[in-house]
């Protein structure tokens, strides 16, 4: 099963190479299906209101409004003003992460060591793709991680562990307003967020 998770008329169907960024404006009411083609491939994601791109995805507002640290079907993805940007309308994994944030050259030096400083990271993908839309470092905030697994233990210990996704697993998110979606197909080679082997993503937009 490889198509859109929610039936509809096809608007776009993009292949995203391993490690590469992607972006598109998704119109209100349209549904973005992200396909984890190879399995356990983290799709780091940022969302902006297209009408006012200073309004953007907010991890804490999303979590606070739903009273839960994990993203699941039904989760409303909210902006820093509490407004709905998108809603998860289909989900084939147990839960999705929005705590772990993105990898980057700089943070990788803390996590793994300075020998990783020259590896590519999601922060680079976000900054490069954001620049195409006139956005910059000030607009890059904490993000969603589709298909990444970040449990929080009772004592607060948390981290990225083996994924609960698999080849062909999908998540579907409906745009509640016109949104600009930025995705980094995570280049990370040093943690389990993509099974240590980045694989492609498919981004399918449908109009119901």
């Amino acid at each position: 099963m490889t198509g859109a998770l929610i039936p509809g008329e096809l608007v776009r169907d993009d292949h995203v190479e391993p490690r590469a960024p992607w972006s598109a404006v998704v119109a209100a009411g349209h549904v973005l299906t992200i396909v984890d083609v190879g399995g356990n491939q983290s799709a780091d994601c940022l969302i902006y209101a297209d009408a006012d791109r200073t309004e953007r995805y907010s991890v804490p507002d999303t979590l606070t409004w739903q009273g839960n640290a994990y993203v699941r079907e039904g989760t409303v993805l909210r902006s820093q003003y509490g407004n709905p940007l998108m809603t998860v309308v289909g989900n084939e994994v147990a839960r999705q992460d929005t705590i772990g944030g993105a990898c980057g050259k700089e943070s990788n030096t803390l996590r793994y060591g300075h020998h990783t400083a020259h590896q590519h990271g999601c922060r680079e993908n976000f900054l490069a793709e954001a620049a195409r839309h006139g956005l910059g470092a000030r607009d890059v905030v904490s993000n969603l991680n589709w298909f990444m697994n970040v449990p929080v233990e009772a004592d607060g210990t948390l981290g990225i562990v083996d994924g609960i996704s698999g080849p062909g697993k999908r998540v579907a998110i409906r745009a509640d307003v016109d949104v600009l979606v930025l995705v980094s197909n995570c280049p990370q080679m040093n943690n389990p967020c993509n099974d240590f082997d980045p694989t492609p993503l498919r981004m399918i937009v449908t109009a119901p």
Partner: protein, 273 residues
């Protein structure tokens, strides 16, 4: 008493007569005149002394090596905090890295407040509360309007975002410059199913932050969004700061923070900070 403000001269006298008045919440200037000097601290070394009103906000630019003590006087303060590099404010608190890099979601003594640039902006160097939150951020206008009926910064139940927006504007920062914040003195825990459990306050307590780079510090003292009390409830927050010594890499207790302080010192020395 009848106040005469019928002429410019009378109005001037009336205004000047207010000078020297004390209030429960105010900055103490110079800082050495604070009525609440922390025990063991030479008052003449203080660089910031203030009591932030319930529902109030403040901000300050502080030097690298400044130790900032936040005091929850009554057990009802909630200090929502953002830190930006004062020399390059697009470098700022990154809550995801602050939780992920130390492999620990709950803030406490020794926890670094990290930027997204692989550096430590501030370190929590002392903590008598242990009830803090890096998940829920601060309140939005929509949240406080729904919960309390009002969110205006001049109203009875200001949202943290409204207060941050004002504090940021004082430094020519805009809503683009306001990432997710952390909050001190009102605790939240995550249950196995991901739901949040409210811990609330540990009572009167103190948290010390050490500025590892020159910082713009923004503080909004407003109710935590998950505070279950129906009435908007916040207590006064005291802030005292003095010059201390930045953390050295060899002081770090984990490999991740060791490298974070290496990066921070490297940056500071190259920049001449």
């Amino acid at each position: 008493m009848t106040r005469d403000t019928s002429t410019v001269f009378a109005a001037r006298d009336d205004a000047r007569a207010q000078g020297g008045t004390s209030a429960d919440w105010m900055p103490y200037l110079p800082a050495s005149t604070s009525p609440f000097v922390p025990p063991g601290i030479d008052p003449t070394t203080l660089t910031w002394a203030e009591t932030v009103a319930p529902g109030g906000y403040t901000s300050k630019v502080v030097a690298r090596g400044t130790r900032i003590r936040l005091t929850d006087v009554t057990g009802d303060a909630c200090a929502h905090v953002l830190v930006h590099s004062a020399v390059a404010p697009w470098e700022r608190l990154n809550v995801a890295d602050t939780q992920k890099i130390p492999w620990q979601a709950y803030l406490g003594a020794g926890h670094p407040l990290l930027s997204g640039d692989g550096r430590v902006l501030a370190t929590i160097v002392a903590d008598t509360s242990a009830r803090h939150d890096a998940f829920c951020g601060t309140s939005s206008d929509a949240w406080n309007e729904r919960k309390y009926g009002d969110a205006a910064p001049e109203g009875p139940s200001p949202s943290g975002r409204a207060l941050f927006t004002l504090a940021a504007a004082k430094h020519d920062l805009t809503p683009r410059d306001l990432p997710p914040s952390v909050s001190f003195f009102q605790g939240v825990r995550v249950e196995e199913d991901g739901s949040f459990r409210w811990l609330g306050s540990a009572g009167p307590a103190e948290v010390d932050l050490l500025a590892e780079l020159p910082l713009i510090v923004l503080i909004a003292n407003t109710a935590h969004p998950l505070d279950p009390r129906a009435a908007f409830t916040v207590g006064p927050l005291r802030v005292h700061a003095w010059r201390a010594t930045p953390t050295r890499p060899d002081d770090a207790t984990t490999p991740e923070t060791h490298r974070a302080y290496l990066n921070t010192v490297d940056y500071a020395e190259a920049r001449g900070l």
